[in-house]
Symmetry: C2
């Protein structure tokens, strides 16, 4: 049996995937982050997914604090779904997936590029050490259980 949750996985990755690991979730977040989508029909048109699925995902995002549901002032029967800080902070996750897809999956080049809004430069994601300041490769990183203090 495949459980509905990653129960027993004492790990921030598993906790994160509980909230954004369901199918379509990160593409909805991508549209909110980078296409400025806020309305149900914007997401629906972009993704072409079933309305009940989209509705379930957006409701879950609101319940878990990734988005706020706001009444659209111009058309008061409609709502907007706006990323909170918690939702907006998924940008590095989406950017890392995008960079990996550019490198390894998407031929023949990235369909979407990430740019620095003020100078138009290409955005690069990197990992560095906060102690010695060195820029790191993935092979320089080890994961350890945190020691309770």
């Amino acid at each position: 049996m495949l459980g509905r949750t990653y129960e027993g996985q004492n790990c921030s990755v598993a906790c994160a995937l509980e909230l954004v690991g369901e199918r379509w979730s990160l593409l909805i977040i991508r549209d909110a982050l980078f296409a400025g989508s806020t309305r149900f029909r914007d997401f629906q048109r972009s993704l072409g997914l079933a309305t009940n699925t989209l509705s379930a995902r957006l409701d879950r995002f609101v319940d878990s604090g990734l988005m706020e549901r706001r009444r659209n002032s111009e058309q008061s029967e409609h709502y907007e779904y706006v990323l909170t800080d918690k939702g907006r902070d998924l940008q590095p996750v989406v950017a890392a997936l995008s960079a990996w897809g550019d490198q390894w999956v998407t031929p023949p080049g990235p369909p979407i590029v990430f740019e620095h809004s003020s100078c138009g430069g290409t955005v690069h994601q990197q990992i560095c050490c906060t102690s010695c300041g060195e820029d790191l490769k993935t092979t320089d990183v080890v994961a350890r259980p945190r020691v309770e203090t």
Copy 2:
């Protein structure tokens, strides 16, 4: 109907999620990256998921070039599943999910910490601009369709 693929999504994020978006996929990659898991039973014990699901995920990873299946020399009826460069390059994705989980989901502190292997310093993921060199916040980044040249 929810399709099996993200067909029509001309995006590296969607392409990446085609390969690693299925349930448990990124936790298997996490174990391979950070727990050094290579054997079927290592993954199975760590994740506690059904053997047919694990088997399907590992087969898919081999087929898509994320892992290599190697015969274990000591016990020749057993195989090891070893990350390729393509698989290892998912480290920033897993690290970004972990950082987000640490920040927003996991109480009361990160169960796993990422360290620089040579100095033990804390690893930080950041985005920067390759043109002006500035360290960026997520709100400094815009996504644009790539212009064909």
